[in-house]
Symmetry: C2
Subunit: 411 residues, 2 copies
């Protein structure tokens, strides 16, 4: 079964916007057992959309097109696809009523052009949009199905999960489903991971196991893939071997995030956390508070950029700042202990470092960081140096900080 | 002149890796005056690469292919392109010597397979790789040029800037450069933006002006594009009209971020900022501290999830919390004024709201938020309701909060 993706949008070809749809949909499809054979980006012109769709429909069983379903003049996908498939556009009453109610509930005027989104090609299966106005559409083609999805990610993603995935399972079940398992590691390089695990997996590789590596800043995902009969057993055995070889350096599976693991564990044990950030500038608190229910265990975060704030918020000693500097083990320790004490938290994390692009010195080069983890048993401070750009630095420090706490509380 | 991009890599089609090459190269090409007409991703198979290249070369003057130039078994681009163009592979002595020296300097063993990277199609212009082993290649085609670039971003990017851009300027100068201008708006819907500006732009649209819209949560980018003689004048006039129609709802241009605008303005005026966050959970501080040099004006951020933290950090009154609840105008005001006073800052922003997925009530439904902006002239509190998912809610509130401050300080 051939699967193709067409992303429409001149902004993608001009480089104004990063194509996250391609990445996200490819992940979902892989997870469901489909392999994307081709992806292309075409501009917002009717001709380009129509030509790409015609070619893709002629060679693929499943074609997904993103974007161009909105109400403005450059939204041409619905109309041009209806033309291509020779289907008249008809008003879909339920969609018209939903859009009308959407505007009424928000006290916003309903311009007539908005209702163009309720026009759907005859015979289309309408995919309800619970996060916006334009519905998605599923259309039968001579070889299989054509799916049209709206451009905004917060509309496209739930629509794919709630409507497209079940439709595919029913209408186009994957022929030779693959089983995949992703194990997420932190703190070891890609080559080291590979050298530690492949010798033990030789037998399974010969039997068809595929291993993929995806390296990000400070982390490596190990993706195990197998297909056919015995795939589940193969993956289970291979996972056990990888876990034995990498031990606690595996922090999660699939798309699990460190913050989810921490909040879940703290919630289960009824314990609490506070954080004190300097160089990570709020990112640690942001990541933790992305998890629904974080408020039950995350008490407070302080982002203290100025020395005055470090003193007046968490009682970092002026003498410590003067003697060791703000980027030091001693200050990291006082920040973590200050945050833990102030909020009567069970645990506290603190970060202080040099994010750059300026501020490095010969003794404390750019990227130097101290990460403190205060617990009921005492405080530990780790140091590292991540010489990279400012945003990557913040991300790497936050991952390391969360990993320190994970190693303390997930045993 | 038609320009196409082919990204090779099965990992892109499996969703393991985000295609940042497409985004980055599209930006560079647009900046140099070329418009990407088509982008596609193909798997690492010789057939797929060769077929996509053959089609692209037949219809485009400039074709860029990324990836597949390395030394391993799945690196097939160089060989398959040589076959396609019927060119023999020959050893490039300078590249062979550079690779040999690269390994010798690093005391790493030079496997024979590595030197396959010194094999280049006869007649190719070799693009030196200063950050890795595989060189890039530029090959003349019947219609123009084919450029092959290595996959790793830290090799591809400097090679494009240092070698490809000058080669294009000499061999394929842009014939009809386009001029684009992106104006970023906040707080108005896509349809409203379109209806306010298009009637006034009719004349320019007839003369070739193209208008594109890109909607994100709470924001709409308006992209003006023109080409040919008079393009710059057309864009300048159109921009003036759009600015007149949308006024202060335009917050920036091109890829400018609100946080950059705020930090730049505060730095210029020598003023300072502190923030107090509840529902945005650190994201406001994170965004502000992403800007290099933020430490000169951003003093501190507090993310106070618990009521106790709201009281003991910024002096929110227990009676206010009891009477109005944590999500209230009164608490937002006390948070902002508390942060401003504690850090002797010129300005302070505060957010308190219901991010969800739980916690809504009939009086304060999910998505309710109060945003306070404390200034030397007093404190203003705005309320809104963004009924959406947790992460989008945080982003929308942070944009609104920064926009409040922008409207105060950028006049």
């Amino acid at each position: 079964m051939r699967v193709e993706l067409i992303n429409t949008g001149s902004e993608l070809l001009l480089g104004s916007v990063l194509n996250t749809h391609h990445h996200w949909l490819a992940q979902q499809l892989t997870h469901l057992g489909y392999t994307l054979a081709h992806q292309q980006t075409v501009p917002d012109t009717g001709e380009a959309i129509q030509a790409a769709a015609a070619e893709a429909i002629a060679r693929a069983e499943l074609v997904i097109i993103t974007g161009g379903l909105g109400p403005t003049g450059d939204d041409l996908t619905r109309q041009r696809i209806a033309e291509l498939l020779d289907l008249p556009l008809e008003e879909h009453a339920e969609t018209r009523d939903r859009i009308t109610a959407h505007f009424k509930n928000r006290n916003r005027p309903l311009h007539k052009t908005i209702l163009v989104q309720a026009q759907v090609p005859a015979g289309a299966t309408v995919l309800r949009n619970d996060h916006g106005t334009a519905p998605g559409l599923a259309l039968p083609t001579p070889r299989g199905w054509l799916i049209l999805l709206p451009g905004p990610p917060r509309e496209l993603r739930p629509m794919f999960t709630q409507a497209v995935a079940p439709l595919l399972a029913e209408k186009l079940p994957p022929e030779n489903p693959i089983t995949t398992r992703t194990l997420k590691t932190i703190g070891i390089g890609e080559t080291t991971v590979e050298q530690r695990i492949t010798p033990a997996l030789t037998e399974w590789i010969a039997a068809g196991l595929e291993i993929g590596y995806c390296a990000r800043a400070g982390e490596v995902d190990v993706r195990l893939t197998a297909s056919g009969e015995g795939a589940a057993e193969c993956i289970a055995q291979a996972e056990a071997i990888v876990r034995e070889k990498l031990g606690p350096q595996i922090y999660g599976v699939e798309d699990e995030q460190l913050e989810e693991i921490l909040i879940r564990k703290l919630t289960a044990s009824g314990q609490t956390l506070a954080v004190a950030e300097s160089c990570t500038g709020g990112l640690l608190a942001h990541r933790l508070t992305n998890v629904p229910g974080a408020s039950a265990v995350f008490l407070a975060g302080h982002c203290m950029y100025s020395n005055a704030a470090k003193q007046n918020t968490l009682g970092v000693q002026p003498e410590t700042l003067a003697e060791h500097g703000a980027v030091s083990e001693a200050v990291a320790r006082q920040m973590a202990e200050g945050a833990r004490a102030k909020h009567s938290a069970d645990y506290a994390l603190a970060t202080t470092g040099i994010a750059g692009p300026d501020g490095g010195t010969p003794e404390k080069p750019l990227g130097t960081v101290f990460i403190a983890c205060a617990t009921p048993e005492g405080t530990e401070v780790a140091s590292a140096c991540f010489a990279t750009d400012r945003e990557t630095f913040k991300q790497m420090v936050v991952q390391q900080a969360m990993n320190h706490l994970r190693l303390k509380i997930c045993k």
